[in-house]
Structures are given as C-alpha cells and as structure tokens.
C-alpha cells in the first residue's frame, strides 16, 4: 500500500506526459527527430529574443544556446528518417516525401545549419549586435531545408 500511491502517481504522470506529446503512437525515430527540432527552436528562440531586444542580452546564455545548436546540428542523421515516416504516412508529421527522394541533398542541409550555428557560436559572446547580425544566415539555413522538405501548415 505504501508503494501503491507513488506507483499510481507515476503511471498517471506518465500517461499525462504521453498525452501532452500528442502522439505516443508516433514511431520512436519521429519522436526523437521532432524533439531535436524543438531543441533547435528553443535555442534559436533564446538568441532571437536577444536579437529582437525582447530579452536582455546575456553572453553566457547566448553562448550556451549557440553551442547547443552546433552540437545538435552535428548529430548523425542516420536512423532518424526511416521509410514510412513522411507527412503522407503519419498524422502530426510535416516531413515531406521529397526527403526520401533526395536524401543526400536533405541531409546536406544539416551541414549548412551546422556552419551557420558555428558562425553564431563564434560571435555569441560578443554582444547583442553580433548575435542580431547572425540571425539572418541562421534563419536562412533553416528555410533552405524547410522550403523543399517541410509541409507548410498554415
């Protein structure tokens, strides 16, 4: 009995967590790659907030966000993109089938992102203006891939 309550709580929390993810039924590679995309957005958001002047510039936070982008964009893509996980196959997926028709071009996009992330990491500690100046190439490296490979969802 003593252990029953915590166990039930963990179960309930677990169920709630799965629900909040909106798709406990998604294949593991999809969940993994979407998590990474959210981490990109989180890190770019830190930098973007400072660039826009919405958040006060903080050299340490900016550097951490940029370093994280470098790390995330260095991850091997192998395994994240199995066949049958496109927007045609699954709900809640925006990865267009074009990815699987042009896998080499698609994965080379992460090298472009990695270069933009490194350029940001080089200057992230140098002040708000330096960060703001790198937002455009960074954003463009996102757009370069999303143009061809992400479903527009508006």
């Amino acid at each position: 009995m003593r252990y029953l309550l915590p166990a039930a709580l963990i179960l309930a929390l677990g169920a709630g967590f799965a629900q909040s993810q909106g798709g406990s039924d998604k294949p593991a590679p999809v969940k993994a790659r979407q998590g990474i995309m959210q981490n990109y957005a989180f890190s770019i958001g830190t930098l973007g907030g400072m660039a826009k002047g919405e958040v006060e510039y903080d050299a340490q936070a900016a550097q951490a966000a940029a370093d994280r982008l470098v790390a995330l964009s260095s991850l091997p893509q192998t395994g994240y993109w199995p066949e049958g996980t496109s927007s045609d196959d699954l709900e809640g997926v925006k990865a267009l089938p074009a990815i699987w028709e042009n896998m080499d071009d698609f994965t080379s996009g992460f090298d472009t992102l990695n270069e933009a992330a490194m350029a940001m990491a080089d200057v992230a500690s140098d002040g708000q203006q330096a960060v703001a100046g790198q937002m455009q190439p960074l954003g463009k490296s996102c757009g370069a891939c999303h143009e061809d490979y992400q479903m527009s969802d508006d």
Binding site: A41, I44, E54, G143, E147, S152
Partner: protein, 293 residues
C-alpha cells in the same frame, strides 16, 4: 428575308469585330527608357523572378539559370513557366520594351496575351523604369537551351485571346490601398503590392482566377494542394511589428519555427532589403482592411 440575313451577318461581323477589339492585347509602351542592369539586379531579386523560372527542383544559383519548366496546377489546366533566359529558347531578341510589356501588361513579344501565372496584375503597378532595369538585368543572365514546355490547358482557356476578357476584369485595377498615410506606407505598398506581389498568394481568387481584392491578403488555399496560405490582414496577424519584421528577414516565426515552401524563397529575396524597407512593408500591412470575422 434576304435583307434580314444580311443584317444578321452584319451584326455578327460587328460583334466579332467588337470582340476582337475588346480582347486585343494592349502592351504598355516603355520605349525611350533605358534599363540599368546593375540597379535591376536588386529589383529582379525582389520581384522573385528566379523562384518560378529556374528549373524544377533546381537550387537557385547566382546568377540563376532561368530555363523554366516548373508546373503550376490551376483549375484551368497546367501552366509551365517558360524559359526566359536571354537566348533563342527564351527572351533572346526581346527589346527592353518587349520585356516591360510582358511584365506590366502581360503581352508577349509580337502581341499575344500571357497567362496571369506571370503576376503582371501586380507588376503593372511598378515604375516602368524599375521594370526596364529588370529587363536590362535579365539580359546579363546565363542562356539556357531548354525549350519551353507547352501549357496543358482545357478549352476555352487554351485560347489566349480569352485573356483579353480576363484582363478587362482583373488587370489595370491600380492600388488596393488607395491613400497611403505616409511615405513609409507608400513605400511598403510599392514593395508589397507591386514588386514582391504578396497578393498573388495571400489573396483568395475568384472563380475566374483573378485576385479577389475585397479580401486583400486575407488568406487563400495553397495552390500546392495541402494547407492554406495564411491571412495577414491586421486582425489576422497578431504578431508584434518586431516579430513580423524579424520573420520577413530571417524566416523565423515568433515560435522559432521556420518559413517553408514558397515563403522560404520570398524571405530569401526579402533578406536583400535594407531594414527600412522591411519596416515599410510591416507598416503597410497594418494599414490594409481587416478581414471580416
């Protein structure tokens, strides 16, 4: 009775003549203008010419190769962007005036109607000098030998002359925002309504495929099939001015997702603009009519 027949024939002939007159191509005349190719480079980018005229699935190179071939599915059939590179298969031999007439009046060299997939209902509001500069820049781009692919349109839309009627309905309409309240808004209007031709995607179309100007920039189905082009009228776009400007410059939304599809190419083109012009577009967007709720 014979007289009646004659009268009828005369009437039919008059009708045909009137129809022929009504549907006749009427190109603007930019003769006497000389284009500046260097100045035209930036305008060419803003007008987004390469986004549609590079080969399907090709990446935009610098300078772009405008070999054409991208398909545009419409309710009337499929249009293919033509080769507009400055060679025999494209616009080689076109004068500056010919190119300006195509951009501003939708009339091709020799006097035929061009299908409005070419956004001349927007470009027609551009300064003829700017269009002449674009024409001059076009001449400096690499030649492609790829032949243009014929359109695949259903009857009667495959008859170019029908566009004469279409143009009477949808071309030559002028500005949507008729009295800009400041020079900045006027500049934003010039960019958004003319060169950048935002309305061509963000404004819904009528049954005949013209822009429904009563619902200006209020969103439309995505011609690619899936999803919707968002409405960006003031009451539809609840982002801050800073967020809209940042989006137009970086493609990043306030949630730090990134613009996809054709908008990614638009952002790439807009990123060449100075900040003042981006702010002008934002100021313009705040002035257009709200969408009906």
């Amino acid at each position: 009775m014979r007289l009646f027949g004659l009268a009828l024939a005369a009437l039919a002939a008059a009708g045909a003549l009137a129809g022929w007159w009504i549907t006749a191509p009427r190109p603007v005349d930019a003769a006497g203008l000389t284009g500046d190719a260097d100045r035209g480079a930036a305008l060419f980018t803003l007008a987004g010419c390469a986004s549609c005229h590079i080969a399907p699935d090709a990446d935009e190179t610098d300078p772009p190769v405008l070999s054409g071939g991208q398909a545009f599915e419409t309710e009337f059939g499929t249009l293919y962007a033509p080769n507009i590179s400055p060679g025999p298969e494209g616009t080689g031999g076109w004068s500056t005036n010919d190119v300006v007439a195509a951009l501003a009046s939708g009339v091709g060299r020799g006097g035929y109607h061009i299908y409005p997939a070419l956004p001349y209902t927007s470009y027609e509001n551009a300064e003829l000098q700017d269009l002449s500069d674009i024409a001059a820049h076009l001449e400096t781009l690499p030649v492609s030998d790829t032949p243009s692919r014929p359109n695949e349109l259903s009857f009667p839309f495959n008859i170019r002359r029908t566009l004469g009627v279409w143009k009477r309905l949808y071309a030559g309409r002028g500005w949507v925002l008729t009295d800009p309240a400041s020079p900045e808004i006027e500049r934003g209007r010039y960019l958004a309504e003319a060169l950048v031709h935002c309305g061509q995607c963000h404004t819904p179309r009528t049954a005949l495929g013209g822009m429904d100007r009563s619902a200006w920039l209020q969103g439309a189905p995505n011609p690619s099939g899936k999803g919707k082009i968002p409405g960006i009228a003031p009451n539809q776009l609840d982002w801050s001015d800073t967020d809209v400007a940042a989006y137009l410059k970086t493609g990043l939304t306030p949630e730090y997702d990134s613009a996809g599809g054709k908008m990614a190419a638009v952002v790439r083109n807009l990123s060449t603009l100075p900040d003042g012009d981006i702010d002008a577009i934002v100021a313009y967007l705040r002035e257009i009519p709200d969408a009906e709720q």
